[in-house]
């Protein structure tokens, strides 16, 4: 039952936000904040008291459309729990970051933000494939509105591109889901979309490959994997700050989550065969993202391209087929959410103050706003993988994991870390140091923003220095996954116990 609250609270808040907007501009913000805070508290409570016998901490299973065998089936394991914590955390950050940025249509803004949260939560909790697809597509609509109404100059173009890419790949996934559904019926006589039952569907070699590709397309667009990434820089750049934070921090993670939850266990053989391609795509993404980030002059676009690079590491970790790589991928997902979320929040704050994102027009900001600049350096360093911060742990684990699979790809990926140093330092150098040629003068971070940033800094340090609780939480979920994907296990304990 508790799982319902994770979805219903944001939905209630969405309705309340719209209704309250006519009385006050502040009220919708507080309503969203409270709803997300409650959800976060609820999720944290699950985390601290988590002791589960089966694979799932909690489960809700209601018949939804019986004639199709569709269930409203939510279930939570360690992986979903971590993703939920990240969702609510970044949701709060997004609300705080847009506190003064969004001045018009506040009620509808928060309506969309909360619906978006509900959609993301559904994706992270659904274990019925129909419900998963439902949530997957439903995330699109509020995100589309966030970009198209509150976005920057080329918002309509960016929002439509985002929608079309995701929808197109999503339909391929829907066809694959339906095919799986009917194939399962042919072999077992049961019509079901239930994840746990579909896991055991026996597929012919060719069908498995085709279906895997259908799912992979949907997740690869979201992740994004190299040739399918072109929506990302546009959408991230044109979205309002809250939109960018959620896009980078959460929507990209739904792609990685989908790969872990569905592609690897449902189609183990095809996925394994696909490994070389996935590894090459991952490495290409890492290098390409870093190089592109280096050559951007739009600060937001720069941060957006770093996402392509970081999510390449996630893909690399997932297709390493060992616990080290998987743990690293999950760690990277969480830390990338925080560090990139932080960068987007700061860039958004900066844009609110100086009304530009152009690196060439910045310079010398350190003297004007030391707190903002200091935080930006921190997140920049986190993003380049400085030891002691979360991103380092994640990427290090990924490289350890992938080293066992392919030395060549690992070496090139390590070069990607090197490249990330260049773009992060270039960003700091161009924006913060040097002479203040444009004579910028503006106020430094306010208390609200300091709190928000401090929150994420502490989180990143904690993840970097004590990653153990996170690793321990995701481990059972990964064990379960590996049993189904028939992987070689046992190596993660070495690292996890250190």
């Amino acid at each position: 039952m508790m799982l319902i609250w994770f979805i219903c609270l944001p939905l209630f808040a969405a309705v309340l936000a719209v209704l309250s907007a006519r009385y006050s501009r502040e009220l919708p913000r507080w309503i969203s904040l409270i709803a997300l805070g409650l959800d976060l508290a609820l999720a944290a409570q699950v985390w601290f008291s988590s002791a589960s016998a089966g694979p799932w901490f909690a489960e809700v299973d209601w018949a939804w459309v019986p004639s199709f065998g569709i269930h409203f089936h939510l279930a939570m394991d360690g992986l979903s729990l971590l993703m939920l914590l990240l969702t609510f955390l970044l949701g709060i950050i997004a609300v705080l970051a847009s506190w003064t940025e969004i001045r018009e249509k506040v009620g509808f803004f928060h309506f969309n933000l909360m619906c978006l949260t509900a959609g993301i939560v559904t994706v992270f909790l659904a274990v019925d494939l129909f419900l998963f697809y439902f949530g997957w597509e439903l995330m699109l609509v509020p995100m589309y509105f966030l970009i198209v109404i509150w976005g920057h100059e080329r918002r309509v173009y960016a929002a439509s591109k985002f929608f079309l890419f995701t929808q197109c790949s999503g339909l391929l996934m829907l066809i694959a889901i339906l095919a799986l559904y009917f194939i399962h019926h042919q072999t077992s006589g049961i019509y079901t979309f239930q994840y746990s039952e579909l896991l055991d569907t026996s597929l012919s070699h060719r069908t498995e490959m085709l279906l895997m590709l259908g799912f992979f397309a949907a997740f690869a667009v979201k992740l994004p994997v190299l040739p399918l990434h072109t929506w990302l820089p546009d959408a991230h750049t044109e979205a309002p700050t809250a939109g960018s934070i959620i896009l980078a921090g959460l929507l990209l993670k739904t792609g990685a989550y989908g790969l872990i939850r569905f592609v690897l266990p449902l189609f183990p053989h095809a996925s394994r065969e696909f490994t070389p391609v996935a590894l090459i795509l991952a490495v290409a993404g890492i290098v390409y993202g870093a190089v592109m980030a280096f050559s951007q002059t739009d600060l937001k676009r720069l941060v957006a391209y770093t996402s392509v690079s970081h999510l390449g590491f996630v893909l690399l970790g997932l297709y390493s087929w060992n616990s080290l790589g998987l743990q690293g991928a999950i760690m990277t997902m969480i830390c990338h959410g925080l560090s990139t979320g932080g960068l987007f929040a700061l860039v958004g704050g900066l844009q609110e103050r100086i009304h530009t994102r152009d690196l060439n027009r910045m310079g010398g900001l350190w003297a004007v706003a030391p707190v903002l600049s200091g935080s930006m350096i921190f997140f920049g360093l986190a993003s380049l993988g400085l030891p002691g911060m979360g991103d380092f742990v994640g990427e290090f684990l990924v490289l350890l994991g992938s080293y066992k699979v392919s030395v060549a790809t690992t070496s090139i990926a390590a070069l990607g870390i090197l490249a990330s140093t260049f773009y992060a330092l270039r960003m700091v150098e161009r924006a913060l140091r040097g002479p203040n040629t444009n004579g910028w003068k503006f106020s430094d971070l306010k208390t609200r923003e300091v709190l928000m940033v401090a929150f994420m800094i502490v989180g990143l340090l904690w993840l970097g220095l004590f990653p153990q609780p996170v690793l321990r939480t995701s481990q059972p979920a990964l064990d379960y996954l590996q049993r189904h994907a028939q992987l070689s296990t046992g190596l993660v304990e070495e690292i996890a116990n250190e």
């Binding site: 004639s67 018009e104 609509v141 929608f163 929808q167 197109c168 339909l171 066809i175």
Partner: protein
């Protein structure tokens, strides 16, 4: 004719009687509200009589009243009633002589009901002609408008041509099989010397049906008629009349086993693919919302053909559900267009919808829901329609059609999103004044709009109704 036969035909009789009643009402006293009230009341009685009709029952050789027919009759009557309510608001400010519209509407509906129940060429042609002749008048009803006559003429000429094809096809089939009953066409052995004539007849009749459905290559009238006709009449052409023709197509094709013949199947596959591709591509560059909906309807009937062609046990259910979803959605969308229109012209240009959400949030929200439903986004009824069609196609393994459906519906997203983005544009400050909207006139849209979301989230009941109604075909 026994009393049970009369009871089975009660919906038809009530609608015909209502038409006479409205006509006499006009003779005594011209009153717009009275005409609408009589029409809606008559349709309501007809709707209720569906539940008491003894089914299944063969009434003469011409008509079959079974669960399938009754379901479609219900859909036809309900959509006709909603169109009447929308027309009431729309024609309130219209010049003189508004009342005869409802007369035509009732007659057209009678034709639709006959089509839904017909199992014989005679009733098929009678129903089709009653429908067509009434529609000639309806599409040109706002006769002071610039394009009214052009639209009426265009529809008249093309519809007559297609009726001629249909008649010729029926003649060929009669000539080769010696019967006009759909169910007896199967009896013709394929090695019979007149078999090629029979196939030619089938293809010619499909031409006639294809014209009414507006599928490629018989779609040329669709954009002009959609744009030129008054918005409520466009809604009628798009929903009620097409629903009736689909009902007929399903019965005709499945009873006569037409899909079993390779040529006919291929013809349908080509029409389905061409409709999906052409409809979506042609809609891309339109500036008029009614033209966009017109081209999109071509594409949607292409999707319906995908469901129809899958031929499995789910095909009829899928097609029926898709029609329900399309009807609800289009009534909502065109209902909003009608509300925003004034006596001189329809709110047709996309520009007139700029920033609608900030001025009329409720209407814009319903229009958004309708567009997302047409685009097939989850939590709307349109998504389930598409899902059902894809499921039916997946079950029968028509993968190429599914892939075309998926790709073309992504193309479709372009123009639906364009409309949605328009609605949420920040106001430019030079909008035209919007007509006043009474709560009563929003009612039909509110009903349709809440069905879009309501059934979209909880489809269980509607699905089981359809499943029980369609059971006769699954023997």
């Amino acid at each position: 004719m026994s009393s049970a036969d009369v009871a089975a035909l009660e919906p038809l009789i009530v609608i015909a009687a209502t038409a006479i009643l409205v006509m006499m009402g006009i003779a005594f006293r011209r009153n717009h509200a009275l005409a609408v009230a009589l029409t809606v009341a008559g349709l309501a009685v007809a709707f209720i009589s569906i539940f008491t009709a003894p089914a299944p029952r063969q009434v003469t050789r011409l008509l079959v009243v079974d669960g399938f027919a009754l379901f479609y009759i219900g859909l036809i009557i309900a959509s006709a009633a909603i169109v009447s309510l929308i027309s009431f608001q729309y024609f309130r400010t219209h010049c003189a002589d508004r009342e005869e519209l409802y007369l035509l509407l009732l007659l057209a509906t009678l034709g639709c009901v006959v089509l839904a129940a017909s199992a014989h060429f005679i009733s098929f042609l009678l129903g089709l002609e009653i429908l067509s002749v009434s529609l000639y008048g309806m599409v040109a009803y706002s006769k002071d408008r610039v394009h009214a006559l052009e639209v009426g003429m265009k529809y008249l000429v093309l519809a007559s041509t297609s009726a001629a094809f249909l008649l010729f096809g029926a003649a060929l089939i009669y000539c080769s099989t010696g019967t006009m009953e759909f169910a007896k066409f199967r009896q013709l052995p394929p090695d019979d010397s007149s078999f090629p004539l029979f196939i030619a007849g089938l293809v010619l009749t499909i031409t006639g049906i294809g014209f009414k459905l507006g599928i490629v290559p018989f779609h040329l009238w669709i954009p002009d008629v959609y744009q030129g006709a008054p918005a409520p009449i466009t809604a009628y052409v798009a929903t009620t009349s097409k629903t009736a023709v689909v009902a007929l197509l399903l019965r005709y094709a499945y009873l006569s086993g037409a899909l079993g013949h390779g040529v006919v199947f291929v013809v349908f596959v080509i029409m389905a693919i061409a409709s999906m591709v052409a409809g979506n591509l042609l809609a891309l560059r339109q500036q008029s919302i009614k033209r966009i909906l017109a081209y999109s309807s071509i594409a949607h009937f292409g999707y319906i053909l995908v469901g129809f062609l899958s031929g499995g046990s789910r095909a009829i259910e899928a097609v029926t559900f898709y029609l329900v979803s399309y009807t609800v959605t289009i009534l909502s969308a065109l209902g909003i267009v009608a509300i925003l229109s004034n006596a001189d012209s329809d709110a047709d240009n996309l520009e007139s919808y700029s920033g609608l959400f900030w001025r009329r949030p409720v209407l814009a929200a319903f229009l958004t829901a309708a567009m997302l439903s047409l685009a097939g986004i989850p939590a709307t009824i349109g998504f389930l329609g598409k899902f059902y069609v894809l499921a039916a196609a997946a079950e029968s393994g028509t993968w190429p059609l599914m892939i075309v459906l998926a790709i073309t519906s992504v193309i479709g997203l372009f123009y639906y999103l364009r409309i949605v983005a328009k609605l949420y544009e920040s106001s430019s400050g030079r909008e035209t004044a919007l007509p006043a909207v009474s709560p009563l006139s929003v009612l039909p849209i509110a009903v349709a709009g809440s069905l879009i979301i309501g059934v979209g989230v909880f489809p269980g009941h509607v699905l089981s109704w359809i499943r029980t109604a369609m059971v006769i075909f699954n023997q």
